[in-house]
Structure formats: structure tokens, C-alpha cells
């Protein structure tokens, strides 16, 4: 079997006495869509932040195609190909939708110490950016200021920015957060179309989406990975049912 894209080994992150990540280990194979689920406060976003480099782990290792990146900066990891989207939309609100994506293209192509040539309308950056926008269904909104987009559109823009960075590993932190049903459906479709082409780690609350999309699922409880495997296995795992799904279904029944 080929080398996994991502190996997380004995990762720990403490905030004072709180163990946000507790001896967490998991692997993500090349080309798979790996979903991470778990109850609120299970440390899913903390994990994503450590994978992307925003947070330093207290101990443990993060290997990306064999290279230990656990102490590297966010910018360095992006250059290696680990790209994240944010749970809470994070955009340059004054820039147009297109410029937001074009900046990702520009950052991928090399350093930006170019002081004279107009980059705002340079097809070298805007053409791939426009492609990424079309892909997420935002092509018609290219020249609107990002701050003026509707919430769902901003979520789509987040995805377009991530795609434009040509990731080797895509970290998606609740890409459907706060979206309406229609918009969620579109994102699920989009993720289905990306599946197989990208290695994706997906954190998501919507169980239907997760079970429809994921090749493998890891379940986090209190910062620890209690199970990792194919969707059917996870569905049947008694520990998982106990910790998470059962509770969810009980909620659903009582509602």
C-alpha cells in the first residue's frame, strides 16, 4: 500500500488543564474523503487548526507525505499543499469575489514582490480564479465585493479560494455551516464532484452529508479518536453509537 497523505501520531493539545486533543492518532490515505465527526466540543476544529498550523500541538507529530510538519508555520504548510477553509467565513471583504480567489492563485504561483504590473486584471491570476468560481457556482458573482455576498455565497467563495490554491490536502471545517437546504445540497454535489480528485478531510455536523460523502470516518470524543473506518463499520460500532449516534437518534426521535 502506498504511503498515506497524512499521518497524525499521538497528538496532544492542552489549554491549561483542558485536553482539547488527547493522544489522537489517525491516517488519511491519498485521494480519500475522510470525515471527522464527534459531539460538540470533541476537538474537531482544534484538530483542523493544528493540521493547518494555526495552533501548535503540545506534543505529537503530523506527517504529510512522510515529512514532519508539526512545528512548521501555516504559510509553510500551505506551500506544501495543506489548505484549509474556515468554519467562520474569513475573506477580504473589500476585494471582489474574483480578487479573493485570484490572491490564492497568486500566492500559489510564487512570492508577491512585484511592484508595478497590474495584477488585478492579469489573466494569469484571474483566469484560474474564474474557473474555481465557476466550479463552485459563483461565476456570475465575480465582480461583487466579497462583503456584499449572501452568507451561503461566502461559504461557496471559501471553497473556491481553497480550490484555487491547488491543495494536495483539503481541510474543510464545516463547509455547510449556516447554509440553507438548497445551498447545502449544492455543496454536497460539489464535494461529490471533488471526491477522488482531492484528498479531503471534512469536519461536518450534517450526518446525512457525511455518510453520503465519506470514504472513511473518524469519530472524536473528548479529543480522542475512538473509531476510524468505513461508514458502515462506524454506523455499527457500539462505542460510536453509545457516544454519539445514539444520542443523536434519541434527539431525533424526541423531536
Amino acid at each position: 500500500m502506498s504511503r498515506p497523505a497524512l499521518e497524525v501520531e499521538h497528538l496532544n493539545k492542552f489549554f491549561g488543564a483542558l485536553k482539547a486533543t488527547d493522544d489522537l492518532s489517525l491516517t488519511v490515505e491519498v485521494g480519500e474523503l475522510h470525515a471527522i465527526i464527534g459531539p460538540n466540543g470533541a476537538g474537531k476544529s482544534t484538530l483542523i487548526s493544528q493540521l493547518s498550523g494555526q495552533l501548535r500541538p503540545t506534543s505529537g507529530h503530523i506527517r504529510f507525505f512522510g515529512e514532519d510538519l508539526s512545528r512548521r508555520s501555516m504559510a509553510c504548510r500551505v506551500q506544501r499543499g495543506i489548505v484549509r477553509s474556515f468554519q467562520i467565513t474569513s475573506l477580504c471583504r473589500e476585494f471582489s469575489t474574483l480578487t479573493n480567489v485570484a490572491l490564492a492563485v497568486q500566492a500559489r504561483i510564487g512570492h508577491s514582490f512585484h511592484f508595478f504590473r497590474n495584477a488585478e486584471d492579469d489573466p494569469l491570476f484571474t483566469a484560474p480564479a474564474q474557473d474555481a468560481l465557476e466550479r463552485v457556482g459563483l461565476g456570475h458573482r465575480a465582480h461583487v465585493a466579497a462583503g456584499h455576498l449572501a452568507h451561503g455565497e461566502q461559504r461557496q467563495l471559501e471553497l473556491a479560494i481553497a480550490l484555487a490554491a491547488k491543495p494536495r490536502l483539503l481541510l474543510l471545517d464545516e463547509p455547510m455551516a449556516g447554509m440553507g437546504l438548497d445551498e447545502s445540497m449544492k455543496v454536497v454535489e460539489l464535494l461529490l464532484s471533488l471526491k477522488g480528485h482531492y484528498t479531503i478531510v471534512l469536519v461536518e455536523h450534517d450526518m446525512d452529508a457525511v455518510f453520503a460523502l465519506a470514504d472513511r470516518i473518524s469519530v472524536l470524543v473528548y479529543g480522542h479518536c475512538i473509531a476510524s473506518g468505513a461508514p458502515e463499520r462506524i454506523r455499527e460500532d457500539p462505542a460510536v453509537q453509545d457516544a454519539y449516534l445514539g444520542e443523536d437518534e434519541a434527539d431525533a426521535r424526541s423531536a
Binding site: 501555516m74 500551505v78 504590473r117 465585493a145
Partner: protein
Amino acid sequence: MSKIPFLRIGPPAIPAFFWAVPLVVVLLAVPFICEALGQPFYLRVASRILIFALAASSLNLVLGFGGMVSLGHAAFVGIGSYVVAVLAWHLSNEVPVLTWPIVIEGTTNAALAWPAAIGASALAAFVVGAISLRTTGLYFIMITLAFAQMIYYYAVSLQQYGGDDGMKMRGRSVLPGLDLANRTTFYYLVLVALLLCIAFLFCLARSRFGLVIRGIRQNETRMRALGIEPYPYQLTCFTISGAMAGFAGVLMANLDTFVSPSDLSMARSDELVAMILLGGVGSLWGPPLGAAFYILAQLGLGNLTTHWPLAFGPALIIVVLFARRGLVGIFGERQR
């Protein structure tokens, strides 16, 4: 006017040719108007406005485009002025500036003194920036202010160069081919310098570098997530701005043929910030407009009362509260 796409640098947009062309025509005509009015003093005021416009534009590069609120920018302007004046002083007193390890004589040659002055300001900005940019927000403001105060008191302590009183230069720099002592020639030189710098800023704002700098102001985390480490870009921006401020200082020293520590005081830094706020933060024409308005107000109100800041302060507060985008916003510059 907002239909002309190639004149936009994104919101806030720069005004169309509609304003720029007549403005430049008027600026070109100023010496003739002053001549016709028999008021050569006004030409001096006009030159002063243009120089302050340049200084304010340089601050706007870090403050408006880059979102780095520097409260010590006058220090870089002042360093430019002092280098020109000090080099001239050494020439007229026939004392070398440096005897070891190499001998450096004083000079009034603009081809030597001006690049030296601009280089000194850029170097100072690089050092101050390298340290200050490790912090953000309020700390950044305080550190730039602290550095500026250090440089100010250093200038005060330079007894050889007039200390607190400053020093008078014998004349303006000598630029081969141009008679800088001629006030009309000097005015046009300043005008060309300003227009070139604004053209440079116009290009810069839309370049790859400019997009990154403006992106960092809007959302630093986002830029990091794109793989862009803000620090080297911010430091470069700060250094370019310092060099431009130094150039303004060079011209200032030449206009007044006089330098004093007040040229790099905190009050002068505050004036530059006020000009930017008044004219419009982050816009290309805002700082020049703010500089013109400020200096004319200083002149007009200053004739009436020495307490003119009493009127100016509230005016600034009104602009900040009700016209966030400054005078440029009032003058029909449209947002997309």
C-alpha cells in the same frame, strides 16, 4: 464616471480623470496665477502643500493601504531633511562628515545628498519596522511613537547642528541643469515629484505586492491561510514608505533652507495623520487633498487667531464621524 474600469483600485475607488485632469492643469498654472496676483508668497505655500501631500501620501501607504497605524512618520521625513542640511553644513564649514574608515566630505550636490537622505530614511524605516512589526495594534502604534520620540530627542541633542533651534542652510541643493533657487523651477520639480510618487502608488496598489498589502489589512488570517507570511511584505511596505517620506523631507529642507527638531516631532506626525483622515484614508487623492485643506486652513484661520486648532479639531471630529471616507468621499468618488 464610475464606468471607467481601469481607474478603479477597488473600493474605495480613485476618482476618474474628471477630477485629475483639471486638477493637474490648475497645479501647472499656479506659478502664473501667483505671478499675476503679484503674490510670490503663495507659490511658496503651494510648494509646501505639495510637499506635505507627498509626506501624507507616504504615510497613507502604510496606514491606508497596509493598515499599519504609524504615529511616528515625521521622523522619517525629518531624517531626510536633516541629512540634506547636515551634508550642506559640513561643506560650508569645510569639515568632513566622516574621517574614518573613509573620508566623506559634505556636499550640496543633489545627485549625492538626496539619494543619501532617502537611503537614510529607508534604513531608519527598515530598522524601526523590523522591530515594531513584530507587534500589532496598539503596541505597534506605541512603538512607532517611541522610536520617533527617540529620534526627535536625538535631533535636539545635536548641538553641533543647532540643537533645539535647528539650523539654517546657506541655500538649496545644487542640481545640475536646474536652478533650484528659482522658486518657479523648484515648484515644478516638487510637482513632478509628487505626481510621479502618486503614479507609483497607483501602480503599486494594483500590483501583486499591493494586493497582498491591502489583503493583510483586511484579513491577516486569510492571507496566512493562503500561504502568505505578512511580515516581509509589511516590512517592505514600511521601508518604501519611509524612503518616500525621506524624499518629502529632502524637498522640505530645500524649500525652507532650514531644519529643526520640530520637523520630526510628534506634532508633525499627528498633522500627517490628520491630513489623511481629512482627505480620505486609503485613497490615492485623499492625502494630497487633506494636505491642501489642512495647510490652507492653517494659513487662513491662523491669520485670524493663534487658537486656530480650536476650530480645526472639531472639524476633524465631524469628518471622522460623518464622512468616514474624508473629503475624497464628498467629492463624488464612488464606491462599487
